[in-house]
């Protein structure tokens, strides 16, 4: 670990959740409530074409007919869908074309979060950022440079206007409106998000990144990400999120769709650090997200990596549909819960094509009175000859009041399938802590070290800049859980 990491624990002993500030900015907020009017209002605000409005309205109809699922391993909180504002945006200004025109308050906010929006300031220029503030995309950096390669990276709203055919062709093909209640809600009221298209044979020259920020009160955030990797292309995409500290719970119901065509590869990484609520479990974000990718073409690959430390409830299962022959799906996850946090997360791998392979590595860490569940599905279809899966889900318990649970579903319908699943649950070894303390490392740091070692397999999958961030995040989150 770098010296920087070593200082983290002290550094953050003072700050509990350092992204908890709010930004004072003029906002355009829709009235609370969900109805056809709301959907029409959002659609009109965004100046959307007729077909998209119809699509939204159809989703709303589905949403109204659906009821809350009951199978999850936590009590579903009462969410009053009429008490949420579905649209919040920084007050509309004339379209920004250069940095000077972006509200300085906003730039300040993102600077505080460590997200440089000012292209001039990034010398290396390895990451292009799409910053989403409440419901709308504020600024996408490096668009011009990306355009040289033919890569489209813009906000969803712009994509609808500029590339309607592409959006129309792929929107909702992986996560249909009817998929689940939150996907339906998202389809009806989604306000913005990111759109990425990598043309044939292009290896995207830089990491693409979206940064999500909830700021306004009483709002929900509903964004939609759509990434299409055309034949033989490659893209690595990062996603980060934070929110201010508030007493009430806020809803984040996003949808992410990934489409990999023949020989394409998409790598999607998430470092999720929404506000987790206070020590008593008051407030925090409900992170109910539907993420799914499809390996449509032969030899394609989709890889999900997630580091989940925030949110009062995290409920998501990034999945891969392995339709193309020889396609590969991967899922790497570290989920850390403490205090009253709940995580019910895992992955689903649907093997449909021949010679498909998938790998799931899930590391759960629970501390305090939190509950951490792994729920996964590995399904081998009738035609999925020679499918291969390896699943490993480990749980680490810190303290005697937390819980760790695993619910792996394994369904095989083809006799050539080879599957392995293993899971262990244990607490942090006292002898490991003893060994480290004996060498002068204080117990808290020792735990941080052990946890980082335990999560290494997953953290290694992250792009380098994010890996450092994620390590810090784990160390911070463990703060105070060793007693």
């Amino acid at each position: 670990m770098s010296t920087k990491d070593d200082n983290i624990l002290q550094e953050l002993a003072v700050e509990e959740y350092k992204y908890g500030f709010t930004t004072d900015i003029e906002m355009d907020i829709a009235n609370k409530g969900l109805s056809e009017e709301t959907v029409r209002f959002i659609s009109a605000k965004k100046g959307e074409p007729e077909w998209l409005l119809d699509w939204r309205l159809k989703a709303l109809k589905h949403f109204e007919k659906m009821s809350m699922p009951k199978w999850q391993n936590f009590e579903h909180p009462k969410v009053d869908f009429q008490d949420i504002s579905y649209y919040a945006a920084p007050k509309e200004k004339p379209k920004v074309s250069s940095m000077e025109e972006v509200d300085p308050e906003l730039l300040d906010t993102f600077a505080k979060l460590g997200i440089p929006l000012d292209e001039q300031k990034i010398l290396a220029g390895v990451v292009a950022v799409d910053a989403v503030f409440d419901s709308v995309s504020v600024k996408t950096t490096f668009r011009e440079k990306l355009k040289e390669y033919g890569v489209i990276f813009c906000s969803f709203g712009e994509a609808v206007k500029e590339y309607p055919d592409l959006v129309k062709q792929y929107l909702g093909t992986v996560v249909p409106q009817t998929d689940n209640i939150y996907a339906a809600l998202n389809a009806a009221v989604f306000s913005d998000g990111s759109f990425v298209y990598i043309p044939k044979g292009v290896n995207c020259p830089m990491e693409l990144s979206t940064y999500f920020r909830i700021n306004a009160q009483n709002t929900g955030q509903f964004e939609r990400t759509l990434i299409v990797a055309d034949e033989g292309s490659y893209v690595s995409y990062l996603e980060g999120c934070t929110a201010p500290m508030r007493d009430e719970n806020q809803l984040h119901a996003a949808v992410v769709e990934l489409i990999a065509l023949e020989n394409a590869e998409i790598k999607y990484s998430t470092v999720q650090n929404w506000y987790p609520g206070d020590k008593e479990g008051k407030g925090g974000i409900y992170n109910f997200v539907t993420k799914r990718g499809i390996c449509r073409g032969a030899n394609s690959k989709i890889s999900w990596t997630q580091v989940e430390t925030g949110s009062s409830i995290t409920w998501k299962y990034p999945s891969v549909i392995l339709k193309g022959d020889n396609s590969v799906g991967e899922f790497y996850s570290v989920a850390l819960t403490r205090n009253h946090q709940i995580a019910d997360t895992g992955s689903k791998m649907y093997h449909i094509g021949k010679n498909t392979r998938s790998k799931i590595v899930s590391k759960g860490i629970s501390a305090g009175v939190s509950q951490n569940s792994y729920r996964g599905l590995v399904q081998i279809g009738k035609g999925a000859e020679k499918a291969r899966n390896f699943t490993q889900c480990d749980s680490l318990l810190i303290g005697d009041k937390c819980g760790a649970h695993t619910f792996p579903y394994i369904e095989a319908k083809n006799k050539t399938a080879k599957l392995e699943h293993e899971a262990t649950t244990s607490k942090i070894g006292e002898d490991q802590i003893f060994y480290l303390t004996q060498r002068g490392i204080d117990p808290e740091k020792a735990v941080g070290l052990i946890v980082n070692g335990y999560a290494k397999e997953v953290l290694n999958q992250l792009p380098m800049e994010f890996a450092v961030e994620a390590q810090k995040l784990l160390a911070i989150s463990l703060e105070g859980s060793v007693g």
Binding site: W71, D400, C402, G403, A404, A412, K413, A417, S426
Partner: protein, 435 residues
């Protein structure tokens, strides 16, 4: 809820309970227990695919038909040859369509042992403190139905410090000339330091259609030890819904060996073990070999409630033809159950072209000082191993038999009774479809 269950059996049962039973007049104290249980069943109806525990097991085809609710010929003749285990001398107890048949059964002469039909057990001094006290706490609607309408079954009580001289073999025979719905209820109580081996065989006669909804409650007091076998060899037309609920006290040991073979088209076993005291040990083993259109579904729960307990579970499934094998193993470690060791393993061989295997090894852990692990694999015949054997002159068919034996060995070697083990090995060999 009720409107969804439009199956004829449901309505038949409701009508039977509400109209016919009052005429017969069930006696207290069971009367009120039955009434209360029936209210629960009436409310929930039969389980549907929408229930998590019945996700892969569709009861609808079974309950969409009309059944006789009691045996048309109570004293019928039956053939029990199929249940004979070579070389094993046992006390034989025979139940026909759930009813204890003294005329076909051996008398157990060991002192301190009570064996009687469940309806005669009511007068035994401990009966009411155990009956319907354990299984009914689960939310299985079929248990409620059985509690409400059970007919027949066995009550066995083994006294303090008694070790049975011979194994007890209980032979469940399904035999009828029209479709019959049997609901036997068993209660086995082992007093302090009692020791026994109970082997339950399920067979059927005359290719009769039957649906058997059996509930067994087992109570093991301090230091009691029980070896418990389920050997499922019935015919295609007999279907089984078995629920076993085990309550264990300090220092007790419960071993369950659950074996299913080609035959019965529908088998659902629920085996729940509650480790309700410290220093308890439980082992659950299973071998399932399925063929043709069979569905065998094993659901187990190992519930660690107190510290210093140990559980060990190992299930092997081999699915052939178009059959389906389901395994769901739940391990709970409750907050107080520190120092628990829980191990679970599920291995599957998917051989049939259209066979399915669904498995869900599940851990729910609320205590931190524990060692818990589970593993699950799915695969086929190892081509290298087959080649190795063939290269040494072993024929294809024998090589496959050998490999399946080797696969099942991890479990069969744990059998406490060598005769049963040989019997199971031969059934595996016979049940294999080698082409």
């Amino acid at each position: 809820m009720i409107t969804q269950v439009s199956s004829s059996l449901y309505h038949q049962l409701v009508a039977f309970f509400e109209e016919e039973l009052p005429l017969k007049g069930y006696q207290e104290p069971l009367g009120s227990i039955r009434k209360e249980a029936f209210a629960r069943f009436k409310d929930s109806g039969f389980p549907s695919l929408k229930m998590e525990d019945w996700k892969y097991t569709n009861l609808q085809p079974l309950i969409n038909q009309h059944y006789r609710l009691n045996d048309s010929i109570p004293g019928r003749n039956v053939n029990i040859d199929k249940a004979v285990i070579g070389g094993l001398d046992t006390y034989r107890l025979v139940l026909v369509n759930g009813h204890y048949r003294k005329d076909l059964s051996d008398t157990i002469t060991d002192s301190g042992v009570v064996v009687c039909a469940i309806e005669d057990g009511v007068t035994e001094h401990e009966f009411l403190s155990h009956f319907a006290k354990y299984a009914d706490r689960t939310d299985n609607p079929l248990v409620a139905l059985n509690t409400a309408l059970h007919e027949g079954g066995l009550y066995i009580h083994i006294g303090k410090n008694v070790t049975l001289k011979k194994s007890v073999q209980i032979i469940h025979v399904a035999s009828a000339d029209e479709a019959v719905f049997n609901q036997a209820r068993n209660l086995f109580v082992l007093d302090e330091n009692a020791e026994a081996e109970i082997i339950e065989s399920f067979i059927s006669n005359d290719h009769s259609v039957s649906l058997n909804n059996t509930v067994s409650e087992l109570v093991l007091k301090e230091g009691a030890r029980l070896q418990h076998y389920y050997l499922q060899v019935a015919d295609e037309k007999s279907r089984y819904l078995n629920h076993t609920e085990v309550k264990q006290a300090r220092h007790s040991l419960y071993n369950n060996y659950n074996c299913s073979f080609p035959g019965s088209s529908f088998i659902r076993n629920n085996i729940n073990v509650r480790l309700d005291d410290t220093a308890v040990e439980s082992h659950l083993y299973g071998v399932t070999l399925t063929a043709q259109d069979q569905l065998v579904d094993n659901h187990t729960i190992v519930d660690h409630r107190m510290p210093h307990c140990e559980s060990y579970e190992w299930y092997k499934n081999i699915a052939q033809d178009t059959s389906t094998a389901v395994f769901n193993g739940k391990i709970f470690v409750q907050p107080d159950a520190q120092k628990t060791n829980a191990f679970q393993q599920n291995n599957n061989m998917l051989i049939g072209d259209k066979a399915n295997i669904f498995t869900k090894p599940q851990l729910e852990i609320f205590a931190d000082d524990v060692k818990c692990s589970h593993g699950c694999t799915m695969g086929q015949f190892d081509e290298d191993a087959l080649f190795y054997l063939k290269a040494r002159g072993v024929g294809e068919a024998s090589a496959r038999v050998l490999l399946v034996h080797a696969f099942a060995f991890d479990v069969t070697e744990k059998f406490s009774n060598t005769h049963v083990r040989a019997y199971v090995d031969s059934l595996i060999e016979r049940g294999l479809v080698i082409d």
